[in-house]
C-alpha cells in the first residue's frame, strides 16, 4: 500500500486548494459543495482507534489523488501563464534579457531560466 501520511494533512491540503480556487471569485470556500462533501466524507470515515480500516484507506487514497489533481492543475496553469501563449517578446524585453536574469516566481525555489543562456 502506498504511504499516505496523516488524513488531517491531506484534508488541510485540499482545503488550501479550495481556498485558491475560490480566491478569484471572492466567494467563501466554505459555501462550496466540494467543501461540504469533503468535510462530511472525512468525518464519516474517521476511525476512533488504531484499526486498519480499508474503507478509510480507500477514501484517503482518493483524497490524496484529488489533492494531487488540484495542486498539479494550479501549478500547470501558473507555468502556462508564465511561459506559454504570450507570443513574441517585445524589443525592450529581448534587449533586457542579457542584462539581468529573470527570476521565476512560479516555483517555490528560485531558478534562473536556462533559456537566458541560449539567448545570450
Amino acid at each position: 500500500m502506498a504511504a499516505l501520511g496523516s488524513p488531517a494533512r491531506t484534508l488541510r491540503g485540499l482545503l488550501r486548494e479550495l481556498r485558491y480556487l475560490n480566491a478569484a471569485t471572492g466567494r467563501p470556500y466554505r459555501d462550496t459543495a466540494a467543501y461540504r462533501y469533503l468535510v462530511k466524507a472525512f468525518r464519516a470515515h474517521r476511525v476512533t482507534s488504531e484499526k486498519l480500516c480499508r474503507a478509510q484507506h480507500e477514501l484517503h487514497f482518493q483524497a490524496a489523488t484529488y489533492l494531487c489533481l488540484l495542486r498539479s492543475i494550479r501549478e500547470h496553469v501558473a507555468l502556462h501563464q508564465e511561459f506559454h501563449g504570450k507570443g513574441e517578446r517585445s524589443v525592450e524585453e529581448s534587449a533586457g534579457l542579457g542584462s539581468k536574469p529573470v527570476v521565476s516566481h512560479v516555483a517555490s525555489r528560485i531558478a534562473v531560466r536556462y533559456a537566458m543562456d541560449c539567448v545570450t
Binding site: 500500500m1 502506498a2 504511504a3 499516505l4 479550495l18 480556487l21 475560490n22 478569484a24 471569485t25 466567494r27 467563501p28 466554505r30 459555501d31 462550496t32 459543495a33 466540494a34 461540504r36 462533501y37 466524507a41 464519516a44 484507506h57 480507500e58 487514497f61 482518493q62 490524496a64 489523488t65 484529488y66 494531487c68 489533481l69 498539479s72 492543475i73 501549478e75 500547470h76 496553469v77 507555468l79 502556462h80 508564465e82 511561459f83 506559454h84 521565476s104 512560479v106 516555483a107 531558478a111 531560466r113 536556462y114 533559456a115
Partner: protein, 242 residues
C-alpha cells in the same frame, strides 16, 4: 455564477446545494439526504442550465463525488474557460459521447497494447529484458490481464485507457488503480529516463516542470475517475444496543 448538482431519484429532482452567490451562510442548507443507491445519476447545473456534452447529450455521471469534482472544475474557471485544466470534465464527456465509437473490447485492446513496450517490469510472469524490444509476454499473462480488465465497467475502462496512454505503462496503471502506487510515484517511475537526464543536465522549468505537472494532473484525473466510477459507496450505521 453558481452551479449545483441535481440528483435524479424517484423521478423527482432535488437540489443538492442551494446557496446562490451573494447570499450569506444563513441560507438553509440542503436537507439531509438518505443514501439510497442512485438509480439515475447526477447532473450539473451551470447558471441554472443543464450542462451538456459536446454531442448535446445530457451530462450525467454515476457518482456524487465525481459530479461535485466536475462542478468544482467549472466553478474554478474565471474569465476564460480553460478546457486544458478540466480533465475530469473531458473524461466524462468522452465516456458519455464515446466519439470514437469504441466498445469495451477495443478499449481493452488499446490498453493492453502498451504491455509490449512497457519499460517498468516486475514479477516473474513477465520476465525482464536488456534489449530495446522488451521480452515477449506469455499468452497466459495477457489473457489474465484482459479478463481482469473486462471486470471493469465501460466508464472505468475509459479512465484506465486514458491513464495507460499518459503513463505509457500498463503495470504502473494497475499499480495506481489498485492503490499500490500514489500518483506522484507512478509519474516518477514513468519518467525515469527523463528524471535521469534532468539530474545529469539540469531542470528546465518551462519544459520539464510543465510536462511533469501536466502529466500528474492528467494521471490523477484518470485515477480518480477510475476509482469513482468503479466503486459503489454504502454507509452502514451501527445499531445502538442497550
Amino acid at each position: 455564477m453558481w452551479r449545483s448538482c441535481l440528483r435524479l431519484r424517484d423521478g423527482g429532482r432535488r437540489l443538492l446545494n442551494l446557496p446562490p452567490a451573494g447570499l450569506t451562510a444563513s441560507v438553509p442548507r440542503a436537507p439531509a439526504r438518505a443514501y439510497a443507491p442512485p438509480t439515475g445519476g447526477f447532473e450539473i447545473n451551470l447558471d441554472h442550465r443543464k450542462l451538456k456534452t459536446p454531442q448535446a447529450k445530457l451530462f450525467t455521471v454515476p457518482s456524487e463525488a465525481l459530479a461535485i469534482a466536475v462542478a468544482t472544475e467549472w466553478d474554478s474557471q474565471q474569465d476564460t474557460i480553460k478546457f486544458y485544466t478540466m480533465h475530469l470534465t473531458t473524461l466524462c464527456n468522452t465516456s458519455l459521447d464515446n466519439p470514437t465509437q469504441r466498445n469495451k473490447d477495443q478499449l481493452i485492446r488499446a490498453a493492453v497494447k502498451f504491455l509490449d513496450t512497457d519499460t517498468i517490469w516486475y514479477g516473474i510472469e513477465i520476465g525482464s529484458s536488456t534489449s530495446i524490444m522488451g521480452p515477449s509476454i506469455p499468452a497466459k499473462t495477457r489473457e489474465v490481464l484482459i479478463s481482469h480488465l473486462a471486470s471493469y465497467n465501460a466508464w472505468a475502462l475509459q479512465g484506465i485507457e486514458f491513464v495507460v496512454t499518459q503513463l505509457k505503462s500498463m503495470l504502473l496503471t494497475l499499480g495506481l488503480v489498485d492503490r499500490h502506487l500514489m500518483v506522484e510515484q507512478a509519474v516518477l517511475l514513468s519518467r525515469l529516463e527523463e528524471e535521469y537526464q534532468i539530474q545529469k543536465w539540469g531542470n528546465v522549468e518551462w519544459a520539464h516542470d510543465y510536462e511533469l505537472q501536466e502529466l500528474r494532473a492528467r494521471t490523477a484525473a484518470g485515477a480518480l475517475f477510475v476509482h469513482l466510477c468503479s466503486e459503489s459507496t454504502t454507509v452502514k450505521h451501527k445499531l445502538l444496543q442497550d
